[in-house]
């Protein structure tokens, strides 16, 4: 850079500005300003978080854009006024021109940047249990495999006769319909291997998506979704999920929703219900940050009206909606409290052992939640005896042994008690019964309708009499579910393991078997309408203790674990309330973004007679992803039925629809860490209407129109679904040109220019 000598001139404002903007001092000042601005926003995140600005928003803020603009102005003026346009200065001119092009490109790029992602699932084949379909249709799927060549599903089901295997041998795609025809090789017990074909829509074959695997299992082809919608990462939204047609659900975009700090209305408006305090996980009251934004600098607001009386959108609805609270790093929890209307007995217990204490809620009328096991040190169970006023003597009578089997042969009224082990054979004295203990399992999961997820110790006992042989499953906790099945040695292999009677659980009512697992500490809390909570402790070996257990007291039988009854409600009310993670514990959760945030929606009838506040958790993909967040129902909304809310992201449209064909995952040795994910998908070319196949994989994007799609995430099992990032990239070419100019310019200025200058000096030296 060569400085020109500027002759002194009289003061003129325009010239003064030109002089100012041709100053290198000022250029250095702008560079330092950019440096400080960038450092504050990047190294001190709390600084930008104070203003509720994400990194993207912070560096797209008008303050930063203004600094960049003034720097560019400085650059232009200084370049024009201070640098001679000649071959020696080509380098610096290129660098300065490159900087201008780069800044221009960046303003275009970041000014119009949209980022989001699209969720696509793979076509699948589901294995459905017909037995369960009849009793509990929601949980009838017992297995699943991806509709892709080579995929297999294999499971051994003793109750259904043994090993079942399904393998996908061929998959055909047709246009936008992926996995339109799937051929499967199936291998099930007692049947020759066969080929089954499933088709998505075959006009000649009714229910072509379904086929029978066995007489009790069916196969169903489930196509993947086809969508042209992606979720915008930068704009949250509130969706009113009312009615079956998801596309018609009203969506309110919330660009003004805060991001980093708790902001909520604490004082109710006049005549409004009282707002309960918000607590953190340590039980401390959480205060709201300020709810008035700084004008010009901040764009968030609180509350955010959604449907205001008098607005066009509100005409059809009898209520108004507004967001009046936002909590980052918060979850919803259900808290039982006194004050319900129906009987749902519930206790909170604390079991302490070896210095460790664990708490748990137990619900007597929910089998899957009526027992808790604590690190194999103890089990606690809660039983409700209703109107009875005394504990069943069978629960308290002394036993001896670690696995106790009690036998009652009714016709002869013979009762025997045995301490049993696996493989032991017992001839029941005075009877024709011979019992063989085939298996003792401490934690057997139940799949029976109404008991799904409940667990119990179980003894599988082979019962033999001169007339018949069968296997009885003897459950400790749910004896009424005991079942008699054909023995595994039955001559007819088709019948092995199958239930003997279609109508009754037991085929021999004469023998009654009761099993007690006393291999570990076990507490049973018994309570009834006329019985205060009473705890029965069974120690390993069978020793039993019983005592009344008032709320707040601890039961310490011997040297083992202790039991404390913390809470006990007969008619609880289940309140859903937010619980906030304290600031000091947030760093360990890393950057959770919005995914662990809640909004509070205030609904109010227009006539002011009804109002309600509801906390709604964030859902990343609306209701698309299984277990990804169910809509939050709002009851008793005047004039509106089935009113549900989803707090998610705004949606944008791609120029065409997309459907996933297959997600392929490759692994590093050990199959712990995937090496590569590739999403093969199909889309219709927006211009030609032709169906095209494309793929996105790590470090390789795909393009649809102006949008770039890239591999962004996958399901936890690495096969079920994929997430493709979606983004636009206007201005990117300008930025690339700018960067190239700067790079070449620097190389020229630092490497070529010194040579040219040396030559020139030498030439001048020779001349002089």
């Amino acid at each position: 850079m060569n400085e020109r000598t500027v002759p002194p001139r009289s003061f003129k404002p325009v010239r003064a500005v030109l002089e100012l903007f041709s100053s290198v001092y000022l250029a250095i000042f702008w560079m330092i300003a950019i440096l400080i601005y960038a450092t504050l926003g990047s190294a001190v995140p709390v600084f930008r978080q104070f203003f509720e600005l994400t990194e993207f928003q912070y560096f797209n803020h008008w303050v930063f854009v203004t600094i960049i603009g003034l720097f560019c102005l400085n650059l232009v003026v200084a370049t024009v006024r201070r640098i001679r346009f000649n071959i020696r200065n080509l380098g610096v001119l290129m660098v300065h021109a490159g900087l201008l092009v780069l800044c221009g490109g960046a303003v275009i790029y970041f000014g119009g940047k949209i980022e989001g992602d699209i969720w696509l699932d793979t076509p699948k084949i589901q294995v459905i249990s017909l037995d369960r379909f009849r009793t509990d249709a929601d949980n009838a799927v017992v297995g699943q495999l991806i509709a892709a060549e080579g995929e297999t599903w294999e499971q051994t089901m003793p109750m259904l006769g043994g090993r079942h295997r399904v393998e996908v041998v061929a998959v055909r795609h047709s246009g936008m319909r992926t996995a339109s025809v799937v051929r499967l090789k199936v291998d099930v017990p007692d049947a020759p291997e066969k080929i089954i074909t499933l088709e998505q829509d075959n006009p000649d074959r009714e229910h072509s998506r379904l086929a029978m695997l066995t007489d009790r299992l069916a196969l169903m082809l489930v196509p993947s979704i086809e969508t042209d919608v992606f979720f915008d990462d930068t704009t949250p939204a509130l969706i009113v999920a009312m009615g079956p047609n998801e596309k018609a659900w009203p969506r309110f975009e919330l660009p003004e929703l805060p991001y980093y700090n708790e902001r909520f209305v604490e004082s109710p408006a006049e005549g409004d219900d009282e707002i309960p305090p918000i607590l953190d996980t340590a039980g401390r009251v959480v205060q709201s940050n300020r709810i008035r934004p700084i004008p010009l600098l901040e764009r968030w607001r609180m509350p955010i009206p959604l449907i205001v009386p008098g607005s066009a959108a509100a005409e059809d609805w009898p209520i108004t909606l507004e967001i009046d609270g936002y909590l980052p790093y918060a979850d919803l929890r259900t808290v039982p409290r006194e004050g319900g209307e129906t009987v749902h007995p519930i206790v909170q217990v604390e079991v302490a052992h070896d210095g460790h204490a664990h708490q748990s809620w137990l619900l007597a009328d929910q089998p899957e939640q009526s027992m808790a096991a604590f690190e194999n040190q103890a089990r606690v169970e809660f039983r409700w005896i209703g109107e009875a006023d005394a504990v069943d003597p069978a629960w308290t009578r002394p036993i001896s042994g670690r696995h106790v089997l009690e036998v009652h042969v009714k016709d002869r009224d013979i009762r025997r008690t045995y301490d049993v082990t696996e493989g032991q054979t017992i001839r029941v004295e005075g009877t024709d019964y011979t019992l063989t203990i085939e298996s003792l399992r401490p934690d057997w999961p139940l799949m029976t309708g109404g008991f799904k997820g409940a667990r119990t110790p179980i003894a599988l006992v082979l019962v033999q009499t001169p007339e018949r042989t069968f296997q009885r499953s003897v459950m400790e906790r749910f004896p009424k579910l005991n079942q008699d099945r054909y023995a595994s040695s039955h001559p007819d292999p088709d019948l092995r393991g199958k239930k003997i009677s279609e109508t009754d659980n037991l085929v021999d009512e004469n023998i009654e078997l009761t099993y007690t697992d006393a291999s570990q500490h076990r507490f049973v809390i018994v309570a009834g309408e006329d019985l205060a909570p009473t705890a029965i402790h069974t120690a390993p070996g069978g020793k039993r203790n019983m005592r009344r257990l008032p709320v707040g007291e601890t039961f310490a039988p011997g040297n083992g674990p202790t039991l404390r009854l913390s809470k006990y409600f007969i008619k609880p009310r289940f309140d859903t309330e937010p619980v906030v993670i304290p600031q000091r514990r947030r760093r360990s959760l890393m950057e959770v973004r919005r995914q662990r945030s809640l909004v509070r929606v205030h609904l109010q009838s227009k006539d002011g007679t009804w109002s309600r506040r509801v906390w709604v958790p964030f859902s990343n993909y609306d209701t698309l992803v299984p277990d990804g967040g169910a809509p939050t129902p709002v009851r008793d909304v005047p004039g509106l039925k089935g009113f549900r809310l989803v707090y998610g992201r705004a949606t944008r449209r791609l120029p065409t629809t997309v459907r996933l064909e297959r997600l392929v995952t490759e692994y590093y040795p050990g199959r712990v860490q995937p090496r590569e994910w590739t999403s093969y998908f199909r889309y219709t070319d927006p211009k030609t209407g032709q169906v095209l196949r494309s793929k996105a994989f790590l470090n390789n994007t795909a393009r649809i129109g102006d949008w770039t799609l890239f591999q962004s995430g996958v399901s936890r099992d690495n096969v079920s679904w994929t997430v493709l990032g979606v983004g636009n990239r206007r201005g990117i070419l300008a930025m690339l040109v700018g960067c190239t100019l700067i790079s070449l310019g620097m190389a020229y200025a630092f490497c070529v220019k010194p040579v040219l200058v040396r030559r020139r000096r030498r030439r001048f030296g020779e001349t002089s």
């Binding site: 250029a27 040795p669 199959r671």
Partner: protein
Amino acid sequence: MATSRLETRATPVISCRLRSLLVGLAVLSAFAVRGVRAEGAAEPAADLAAVQDQIHLKKLGAIAILDRAGWRHTTVESWSRKVMRTIYGSRPFYGLDPVAAAMELMLNPEPYQDLPIIYVKDRGILKDLTTEPIELSEEEARALLKSRHVTYRFLTSATVQARVQELASEAIKNKALNRLDNARYHYENLLALFTIIPNPDGKEDTPWSSVVSLLDQARLDQTGLNPAEANAVLAAFRAFNQAWVDRDVAAINTSIDELNRLMPTFAPAGVYPSLEMRTAETRYRRLDLLFWAWLVYIFGFFVSVFALATRYRWPRRVGLVLLIAAIGLHGYDLWLRWGVIGRVPVANMYEAVVSSTFVGALFGLVLELISRKRVYLLSSSLLGFFALSLPMVIPDKINNDLQTMMPILDDVMLRIHTVLIISSYAVITLAYGVANCYLFVSAFRDKARLAQGTLGAQLGAIVPLVLAKMDYFAGAGAAMFIGVMVAAIVAGIVLVLLLFSVFAGGGPRAVASSIRASDFPIERDLLGEFDRSHLVLLYTAAIALFVGLVLGAIWADYSWGRPWGWDPKEVFALNTWLIYAIIIHAKFVTRRRALWTSVLSVVGFAVMQFNWWVVNFYIVGLHSYA
């Protein structure tokens, strides 16, 4: 005769019960909370240490193993070093070779239950574990804090576990507790982690098994071995275990040969690493060339200081020979590593430091050979000496584990980007060395206050870094560290300026007189030489940094869908470049351009270091290890 671990472990369940029993006994025992070894206890490894030279440890180390946590097939040699560092830290375990140490803890763990072998890296956690309600005498607590090792029994005692659970609720201690938990997990599960048995039915990614799986009927199917094969492996391993416990060297070596013969026979074709690869990995581990390179860099540094100060020719020649030797050792080490991991070694912190140092030192050597300025010789040696000491000073952050690259980083463009960026960092470090030469001469000879203050600031900044290394800030927030850093820098500036003022006629004058330009054998413009050398480095760094940034943006565009995300790492790379842009423009706004260039070069180096360490380890972002 002692029994082998496999004999005592009929099944893993029994072992667990035994361990629970031991833990239970520990609760009852008053000595359960003793964290230090009883005085006069014999070292159980002494007899092993005496015979370890006769054991074929290289052969044992060359057996392939699947490191599931590292996602690669590696060797027992690498695995042993990794697990021993996790359990015991980086010091040698009772004088044993790392392979022998790992085998000892795996096959003969009982004698070590009451010995302090579990390393607690974090002093804060150690303090938490030695205070009430944990019963320790003051002396025991002091000994524990000094040794930083606790016994397994102490760690698993009920009171300590209760304390650990309590601490787990404090997010700031999570990382330290995870480290401790990991050490315990490794100690408890060494045998299960020793996955050297390939799956005959598997592919390259199929998990391998340990003998624990062979002992467990439920898991036997997953190993892919038929009963005859399983029995053969068990027999070989039992023999190895028994021989190890008996310290029967001949039998140990026979068992090693048997395991070496047996294991490859189970692997499907192309899965088991070749003998050449395994031997290369073992050789790489055992040579430890970087240590020797580091030593040579140190000698080279002192010789080059002499060469620069005296201007004699022979010290320069000796310095050049030493620098070439150090670079040769350094380069050969990198070459071996490259061959072992099968990719350019720039994927983690260790590799970035070592590779960039190599590039920087080589660049400095080339410049020295071309220009003969001597200052390049000095700064290259300084760079090598400084950078290669980092893996020794902070081994938990910079360790030489052989790791598989994160899948998303496996891209040619990204490798070029990384190489360019880290090379620019190395050149920035070279420039920093030259800048300090300039500042040193300016401060002493020209009495430049700015130079004196800058040197003082650097000396001040060293204090909090040393304190941090001594865990002085353990558990304290970032604000405290920043506060101490600012105070130390200010104090350093004031102190050095005062020293120069107060002792103007003493030490500084004496030093200055010794480096007076007129004293040099050859009269030259020393500062001018420094400045010109400095500018060459600064220009190179600015170009490499910018081109590296652009290539990273191009990669991010086709990988993440956007070229620039304002991620802290990106922002601070840009900030570093902005500092150099300011340096380049400084000549238009100051008469003491060269001095300001040196001062700003120090600032640029500080920003680069911040970008490398603070952003990588302490600020959450796309590039972070935080």
